[in-house]
């Protein structure tokens, strides 16, 4: 199986889907001539031409709205945001138009559109450009939200997102784009709504998604050295949420730590904990703990930024607490 970067896996998914369906097109800032701010769209303008790889002005609300109109007219747009921090400007279109079109048209107008781009913190981009928006987006009925952590999942989930007849949010990551992994060639799709057990253990369930999968796997390695075997469950899809996978793992381990990049208040982890306390109450031997970004704007200072982010050390400490080892 070829080894690809996350960025090239996304590129492969876009290319294959554009070859497969002439209604698929890509639109966003710098996606054409510049080949993408993160080079995800490399070679696409050359192959598919300017009608299907469309450079836009710096106007998120506008091109999100044009995409929605195109989807209403029968096309399958993929809208790239340079980062999700910039997509805040487009939230009115995403939340009020894309998410509600099928519902408010009485089922007459499907909305096969993808909004994608990097989410969460990279390195020293400070408060306004280091934000994780999944809790905001997964909150909205009418949207699907996926957050692939590996190149293979990035390819498989983006292909599923493009083929889906509902608006799908694809959350990528600046520091994920260069990560490498084996990616199946050709037709490879990952169903939306299925979590993936990235590592199997019996003692504690570590639940994570997107960039936190990497640090959680590191935490699991450290725990293994201490004799603790962890289940590492990558949610992959935040809406719909794979509740069955969460409950199956907790039923096995009787304890859980939920990790996410975002802030703690009303976070994705809060939703996961709700599922666990409601449907696995009698399985729990300890309170479920969460590891999140510190409840502050992201500091620019390097040391403070490191202190604010989730880390393997924080996950290990939480796992030891739910195991009553601390």
């Amino acid at each position: 199986m070829p080894t690809l970067t996350y960025r090239d896996a996304l590129n492969q998914a876009l290319r294959e889907e554009m070859q497969r369906d002439p209604n698929v097109f890509l639109m966003g800032e710098e996606v054409g001539v510049y080949q993408g701010a993160y080079k995800v769209s490399r070679g696409l303008l050359e192959e598919f031409g300017p009608r299907r790889v469309v450079d836009t002005p710096i106007a998120e609300l506008g091109f999100a709205g044009i995409g929605i109109g195109a989807a209403m007219a029968g096309l399958r747009p993929v809208i790239e945001f340079m980062t999700w921090n910039f997509a805040l400007l487009a939230l009115d279109q995403i939340v009020n138009s894309a998410a509600k079109m099928l519902y408010m048209s009485g089922g007459q107008i499907p909305m096969p559109i993808v909004f994608r781009g990097p989410n969460g913190a990279a390195l020293q981009l400070s408060s306004q450009h280091s934000q994780a928006w999944e809790a905001w987006l997964a909150h909205i009925p009418g949207l699907k939200v996926v957050a692939p952590a590996t190149p293979a999942d990035a390819k498989g989930l983006l292909k599923s997102a493009i083929r889906d007849n509902n608006p799908v949010i694809v959350l990528e990551g600046e520091i994920l784009y260069n990560t490498k992994g084996e990616v199946p060639e050709g037709e490879y799709v990952v169903s939306i709504g299925k979590a993936d057990l990235k590592r199997e253990g019996r003692d504690v369930t570590l639940i994570c998604h997107s960039k936190t999968v990497t640090i959680t796997l590191k935490a699991a390695d450290a725990l293994q050295e201490q004799g603790v075997a962890a289940d590492v469950l990558d949610l992959r899809s935040l809406r719909p949420l794979d509740e069955a996978a969460i409950l199956a793992s907790v039923a096995k381990t009787n304890r859980a730590v939920v990790v996410e990049e975002g802030w703690p208040h009303c976070g994705v982890g809060a939703q996961v904990v709700d599922v666990i306390q409601r449907d696995a109450f009698d399985q729990l031997d300890a309170p479920v703990l969460r590891i999140t970004q510190a409840d502050t704007p992201m500091p620019y200072n390097k040391q403070l930024e490191r202190a604010a982010k989730p880390s393997p050390e924080k996950i290990v400490a939480a796992a030891r607490r739910v195991l009553y080892l601390e």
């Binding site: 009787n254 109450f281 009698d282 399985q283 729990l284 031997d285 300890a286 009553y324």
Partner: protein
């Protein structure tokens, strides 16, 4: 702050209780130990008593409603005290089976009906909630371990899975209340030790395992004998003539006493199977199955081997009567070391009874009928009784049960043998 009155577990297996009647009403002054309400458990009608002094501020469960154990049924506090709104929120799990209604305001307390002793409950809930993880609670429930007897190793003394696993792995001692249940002894006993625990030998373990596997969970076998009751009938007639109007002795009383005395001579049959050991009882606590309206219950005659025929008779009748009225207290229907089931009054010739675990045996008593038997070479009509003993083969082997039945038969055929 107002004290919550919760539905207490008034029997070992109680999960919910039906509020039969409120004895106290909102506004009444109550003292610790006073009866607040009558509650029907799965086994009997019991009294729910106050665990705080003050005024009954509010009743939260109507008469006739069924309330899960642990749910609030009322509040006690200072007169005029407000009940915390969140604490007073309705509990969705309380199921009212009747559409009513607050209790009638003027029914008034009925001290005469209430003056019985407050029912002793194994451990009052007021002593503080046990801190335990939900998983630990579930394991405790499934394995019958009393959480209150465990020391939690978690934060703040929380009982967690590990503590349960250790407790379950330990030999059945401190953490197993079902074994440790203290049985009130109404009469002094000749031995100071009520029982002796004998660890299972390897052959006993193998027997237990093999027989359980073949016919489980309790490997029953059955022994039947036919007893000549002519002399017992004569003895009964003579004793009743002597007693006159001071009482009446029934065949059942004679059989109960004979079983108790035979058990005292055959400790091997007066035993509990306890997974990794057998508990051989020196005390004889005789259970007697009593049919009640919707099932049966087995009240216990304590130290039956030390009681006179008239004592046994009086106690048996009193217990049976209260059993049918569902007025037995938990300690009156638990802790039997052996049981007797009598269907003679239904003209059943013989039957097999099902063992009541952890007891190792039960004797099923049929009806006394006249049958033709050969006596001294002649066929003669004789009063005959068939007894069938069900034995737990993990404890009692064939010959062990047979010798017990032999003793029992000798005592019934020659009641003077009971004096030996």
């Amino acid at each position: 702050m107002a004290t919550k009155v919760v539905m207490e577990a008034l029997s070992p297996t109680m999960e919910e209780g039906r509020l039969v009647k409120w004895i106290k009403h909102a506004g009444d002054a109550v003292k610790t130990g006073e009866t607040l309400a009558e509650v029907e458990t799965d086994k009997a009608v019991m009294e729910l008593v106050a665990r705080a002094d003050g005024q009954l501020l509010q009743i939260a469960a109507a008469e006739g409603s069924t309330v899960p154990v642990g749910n609030v049924v009322a509040y006690i506090g200072a007169p005029g005290e407000k009940i915390d709104a969140s604490a007073a929120a309705p509990q969705p799990s309380a199921v009212s089976r009747q559409p009513s209604v607050n209790p009638p305001p003027s029914a008034g307390p009925q001290p005469s009906a209430v003056s019985r002793q407050p029912v002793p409950v194994a451990a009052p809930i007021e002593s503080g909630r046990v801190r335990a993880s939900p998983l630990a609670r579930r394991i405790a429930k499934d394995s019958g371990v009393d959480l209150r007897l465990l020391t939690g190793s978690g934060p703040g003394g929380r009982v967690v899975k590990k503590d349960l696993e250790e407790a379950v792995a330990r030999p059945a001692t401190a953490a197993m209340p079902t074994v440790q249940r203290s049985v009130p002894l109404p009469t002094p006993h000749v031995t100071t030790v009520p029982y002796e625990d004998v660890p299972l030998t390897q052959i006993r373990k193998t027997i237990a395992k093999r027989l359980s596997a073949s016919l489980g969970p309790i490997p029953h076998f059955f022994l039947t004998t036919e007893v000549d009751m002519e002399r017992a009938a004569e003895a009964r007639a003579a004793l009743n003539a002597q007693l006159g109007d001071r009482g009446k002795i029934g065949f059942n009383d004679i059989i109960l006493q004979a079983v108790a005395l035979a058990l005292a001579k055959h400790r091997a049959c007066n035993a509990w199977f306890q997974d990794d050991h057998i508990r051989y009882w020196n005390d004889v606590h005789l259970g007697m199955a009593v049919a009640v309206e919707d099932g049966l219950i087995t009240p216990v005659i304590r130290n039956a081997d030390l009681k006179s025929l008239t004592q046994i008779g009086a106690e048996a009748r009193e217990l049976a009567q209260r059993a049918r009225a569902r007025r037995l207290k938990p300690e009156e229907y638990t802790g039997a070391t052996f049981s007797v089931s009598n269907l003679g009054m239904y003209d059943i010739d013989q039957f097999t009874a099902v063992i009541n675990p952890p007891e190792a045996g039960i004797v099923a008593i049929g009806t006394i009928t006249e049958r033709p038997v050969v006596v001294g070479g002649q066929v003669a009509p004789r009063k005959r009784l068939r007894l069938t003993m069900s034995c737990d083969h993990r404890v009692i082997d064939g010959a062990t049960g047979a010798t017990f039945l032999q003793t029992l038969r000798q005592m019934l055929e020659n009641p003077l043998a009971m004096l030996l």
